[in-house]
Homo-oligomer: 466 residues x 4
């Protein structure tokens, strides 16, 4: 619609109503201008219709939607299914060009704009200088260029298969540094990190890979200490900040690490932090050249879906919405902690203190364990009662190996010999009070039926598996 | 999006790609301009995305979607459900103003535009001078004003409850004129129409209500003869043209009636002619004042849904699409007739000749009837086999009454004593060859299992009700 | 999906995960069962996905979506446009049968179910015995049957064109009974109603048509007194309860009128009460036969869109949501009143007291009027500033006529000689505090720039039309 | 909906209509069963509503959509934006588990089913034994395990950055084997492949990476000869079959290569072959263990979007639709070739014969080149006229380097010294006759305005840039 369209409408319906509609339309356009000029999350989130208006307009900028476009190549954004085309708002070209995923795709100015805006807005959200979705493997590959001959990655142990594998896939050897216990908490073994780097020779080390978001009782790594060590020893430092964007404390700590030490790049998931479907990652780095190298490492185009989901979500959130999400998460975390302490007392267990971890909390299963051969059954029972995401880690000292990499002690506890079994739960963005009520309701029943010394069963009477 | 938006985008992604997108966008805008300036169905139908772009823009012209709009009345287009809002593209105000459904609604320039465009485009489709969706009752009420004292409606009998009731609801008395047989065909009894008007006195007659689309063996009324009679005797003439828009022959006949005689207004359904969900009607009339009076008769606003459905469909059809639909319908009708003749021969029945009816065809059930007490069972069997819309009319001479109005002979045959039972089927827009294949497949089985003298059953072996 | 499907899935992915999904699915099914068995609004509203699951399943019950269905009639629910089909979830058949809009449409069990459920759930919401969407005209037509010879409708004056026209369209003569002033409030002139009925003869009167929701300073009619009078004099009583469902006070008064007097039927809009797009009406009546007669009066099928919108909205609201809407409305109304009183004081006007009207409030424009020839300009200014729904009614004693029916005094004030000009605003369901803030912000500017004695302009400095 | 729901509906609307709906529903269920039992593309594609019914049901199998599910982890499929949730049909969990993208995700049986079905159906489409979406990098990484010490990849030169980079990212060294000219065609230099492997030592070679779909005048590699060589020398063979699935000839050749030689795995894009948005890849391999190793190499979960798009498209296509797409492509390719030959004659150029390439065709720019310093301008002009995907490759012998890997001769010609500049166009699935008409229309104008000796300009008169 342009002014001529509006003029013509005025010949069909009363011009003064058209005029008002035309004026009102400017308000929408003004929102678009403000976004494009300020390059910041709008203070207040956009409503669904403004968003749809925007996306429809932007999608029409991709060549596959041009009136009169003639595709003479092998990949022209043709989409067979109307349903598929529609769910993507007509976007089909993905992002990036062969050889640089950060480049604007000439056939797809609209897709490229979505990607650029998602990047810019996510960046505002996380208060860092540059960001880009991409995976850990690519980061490690990109570092290869500036560390010829380096073959090892110092891996602050976190018991999750994907980290180890991303190191192996990039063709490097992980040197696993077990954590150390400080009270209940599994903390960074800074001494061992230091010894290992010095022993192996800094030049053989591609980077230290630390982790700033993890399941309690593991604490987020001491990224400030690691960063200072890395700066001093001239070793790159990559932080796996999976779902740490939602923790103001962790984002502050990364800021401090970046300014007082060395942080080359941080990698975070979009789904866990921004409540979008699985599939995207954000890279944040103050080092432009490094980011550029990572982008150039990505071979070919990528799906535009994660950018689109992220942009849509951020525009609907706005700064206020994002702040509320974080406030709310802090509130529910505090409450989860308080209720878990209370529950632990009643059932003869205790909350394993991991004060540095402000997303996840672990509950000991010591007395539970003494009565039950298999604590894993607890996890199954919770799963069957529709509790997802709660993890039970049994105490064990037997070794595990992930693709040939050895882990001392039971895989899951991030430590060679964690002294007790435990259950870990988290309070992440989007977690509600109703979730929590329901969780405690269910875990009480499970503990009761499992014959714990607690008297819950007697109080609640017959306990059906619902 | 305006030029400033595009300029700003050029600071985010490469200006020359933005420029091309901006140029390409003009092609969409050009389509919109052409529609608004020419006020004709586009030659080629629009694709789904162009349509969506258009509707999203037009919906944003309604005040409920204005940024900063403040609703201080009792009806401000607020919609609770996101799903409901979305399925209406944000349109919520309906059409019309209190007291005139044809007026532009000041709060809703977008809704009004949809309504005006649907009206204009449908008009192009049906080649008449003015049109408006509205029901028969309103038309009759609107005629009241120009015929004070007239209390009777000459009703060319069509055995459908809704016609009788629309007369009664408007507060008039229907005088039922039975059809006469010409061969198999039930035709307009012009003599009786004439006699009745003269006997009752033309001034007591509100109008003659004829019907130009009906189930065979009734023929469409001879609207030309009626129109000439009405002009001569100064009696209004209303044509119930329910699904006749899809018949070029009937539209031509109405044209002739309009120019050589008197046709005050024709009323047609949107769903049957234009393949949209049930709910809309189109009024077409060369008499501006009459149409205006009908519009003013409609008390209050109406749903905007039928206009929206019609506009969307017409824009997606385009003139080419509409022409193809009509061509295709003529082809399938001819084929249905041929196959039915063939089938009739095999089962010892015959097609009842109704050459003036080019949408619907009747098959006699004479021999079938002699073997089966209840021909209605045939209808049930077809229904159970998922054949919808086929009607079985048993021969009978007993009277029926609709809301106190007497109909001689069995209701359904449009005649006091139709000589045989029959089955009626139609070939309307959207009917496919696959439909027809499947229909003949099923009716063969039904006839066979019903023990007709035909040997179909022996040929096809065991006949399961699928 | 049936059990066999789930079993087969278990051969593709791990059976125990399928089992859990299958169990979880029962929770959705349980919601559907509960709805169908209890026939009540769910306590808590359904989320969008449950609703979509339900609608997709129900739509598949219409014959046009049957696999293998063969349409052999002229109206088989064929839909040309994918976009249109989709926005109706595949529903295309509308509701009702030729001759009875309340009947189940054999081709469309799904559409019929939507309609029946919408009716039942809306009924629960409004605590009455029976309900059906339909218009006032049909009600009056339906009453004709039981009042042969009655030609007049006693019309408690409300200055809205649609009411008068619905009487005229049904073929009756309205006898307008002006309201009387009680303080600022325009109230029912019970004496004149009574005198008129007795003077004309009760048998000549089709019904008394009262109105229970209107713009201040008119009060809702005293439906209890009218109902008692009607019971005593054996005259039907129809209540136009347009947007009164949202007022608990008015619904209670109608309950009292129904039990202590005569209320044949009440008619209400769906859009104003339930926040759906314009297009539906609900009839509520304790008289089954009357309702049935109205349904049979409706000639033919109707659009299924209003039922669908209403059902979707009610299911998403749930009882809790509905209650919240009502609570919230009462709160915002109280606040609107308080702020308007405060504003009136500052600008030398006053709130016209209409204590019986708890939706709409009027502000005098007396001092404003003395300074401005044309108070209507105030309405225009508000409209231009994007305030919709605020009505300015100038003081005047000149007559008006709607389709030949005379109204003494300026049309709009519901009274032959209302002593002052006024502005009316409403606080209806969905009205927000932000709306109100914005309204007062804008009206202050308008009053200030219009040169009222108030000093707002001096305080706010330059006043741009935004 | 289960039987109890249908029974309850029978208490609300007529049981026999419900019964019919219930029966009809079985037809849909039957389609689902057939799919799950046969594990083949349905013969005829599904309509949009059947597909939606299926996806809505399957999405409800993911735990995030369970009624009563309690998420206590950091990633529970919570989605903030309604619009985002809806466009993914509620799917949010992505596919795979930490450590194995091929594993069923316990929280997401529905997402897993989509992924498994997409895999199975795509497999049917391409007539191979196993397939999985994943990238080339992961394949190379996965091969590392079975070739310890191998550091080199024999790379049959194709001038596309992404191939080179996928080798580098996986940590290997590409050995570029230039093609040889056979007539106009750039063919596999089998001798050089062989010499290089033998010179370097087969044990140092990770694999030969051939390419079976490329831009003319390069021919697809002689995968049969390579496969035989690889089998004999015990070297893995990976085929980059980017958009070759749409070429029956190429799929047949790969079949022959697989049976008579060694093909470890083939990698293809979903977007180019199946007309879905960019983002997915299909791996096809007869070696189960290799595929499993690749899956385990993928670190963590992946977006479920590509699987969903692919499954939706395949179900809508059906076997018939897929066959039609291939037939149609062959037809348009033949036509493109014929018209290009004709055009070439007129403008004094010729089609570069590349008989083995049945998707892409090259046109010499020899005479064009002699008159214009910069042939690249031709590409720009086509781009500005909205021709996308046409590539202009200027003749040059200067070297290029991609991330340090040297390419002799101009990058783009796949050959160190291709004798002429050329233009390449393709006819891929979805290409239409209208596209072709428009392309020839535009290229004629461009050649004409560029001053070619051809007289097109004189014929067509003034040539506007449209």
């Amino acid at each position: 619609m342009d002014d001529e369209c509006f003029r013509l409408m005025g010949t069909l319906i009363e011009p003064r109503y058209v005029q008002q509609a035309c004026d009102a339309r400017r308000s929408h356009t003004q929102k678009f201008r403000t976004l494009l000029a300020n390059r910041q999350l709008p203070e207040t989130g956009w409503d669904a219709l403004t968003l749809r208006l925007f996306l429809t307009d932007v999608a029409a900028m991709d060549s596959n939607l041009f009136v009169g476009n003639v595709g003479m190549g092998e990949r022209e954004g043709r989409v067979f299914s109307d349903l598929v085309r529609e769910r993507h708002y007509g976007f089909a070209h993905g992002i990036g060009r062969s050889g640089d995923i950060g480049a604007v795709q000439p056939k797809a100015a609209g897709s490229s704009l979505v990607s650029v805006l998602a990047k810019i807005l996510a960046l505002v959200s996380i208060h860092l200088l540059c960001s880009k979705r991409l995976s850990l493997t690519l980061v490690l590959s990109a570092l290869r260029g500036e560390r010829p001959g380096a073959t090892k990655v110092i891996f602050c142990r976190i018991d999750q298969k994907s980290c180890v594998k991303s190191i192996l896939t990039a063709g490097f050897e992980p040197l696993v540094i077990d954590g150390v216990l400080q009270g209940d908490q599994v903390c960074t073994n800074m001494e061992e990190v230091s010894n290992t780097v010095l022993r192996e020779g800094a030049h053989t080390v591609l980077c230290v890979l630390s982790c700033s978001s993890c399941f309690a009782p593991r604490a987020p790594d001491d990224v400030v200490a690691i960063a200072r060590f890395c700066r001093k020893n001239n070793v790159p430092h990559v932080i796996n900040n999976a779902y740490g964007v939602q923790s103001r404390r962790m984002m502050h700590e990364i800021d401090v690490a970046s300014t007082t030490g060395r942080v080359d790049i941080t990698v975070q998931s979009t789904d866990k932090n921004f409540m979008v479907p699985v599939g995207g990652a954000i890279l944040a780095s103050a080092h432009r050249e490094l980011v550029q190298r990572v982008l150039e490492t990505y071979p070919g185009r990528a799906s535009g879906s994660p950018s689109l989901d992220l942009l849509m979500t951020l525009l609907q959130l706005g700064q206020n919405g994002w702040r509320s999400l974080l406030d709310e998460r802090e509130r529910t975390f505090a409450q989860l902690h308080a209720r878990l302490v209370h529950f632990a007392e009643r059932v003869g267990e205790r909350v394993l203190e991991s004060p540095r971890n402000d997303i996840s909390i672990a509950l000991s299963l010591s007395t539970f364990e003494t009565r039950h051969a298999d604590v894993c059954e607890l996890g199954s029972q919770l799963f069957r009662r529709l509790v997802s995401g709660a993890r039970v880690v049994p105490r064990t000292e037997k070794q595990a190996a992930i693709s040939g990499v050895r882990f001392d002690g039971g895989f899951g506890a991030h430590h060679p010999a964690y002294p007790s079994s435990f259950l870990t739960v988290a309070s992440a963005v989007g977690h509600t009070d109703a979730d929590m009520d329901s969780f405690f309701n269910k875990i009480e029943k499970v503990f009761a039926t499992s014959g714990s010394k607690d008297s819950v069963a007697e109080n609640t009477g017959r306990l059906d598996i619902e």
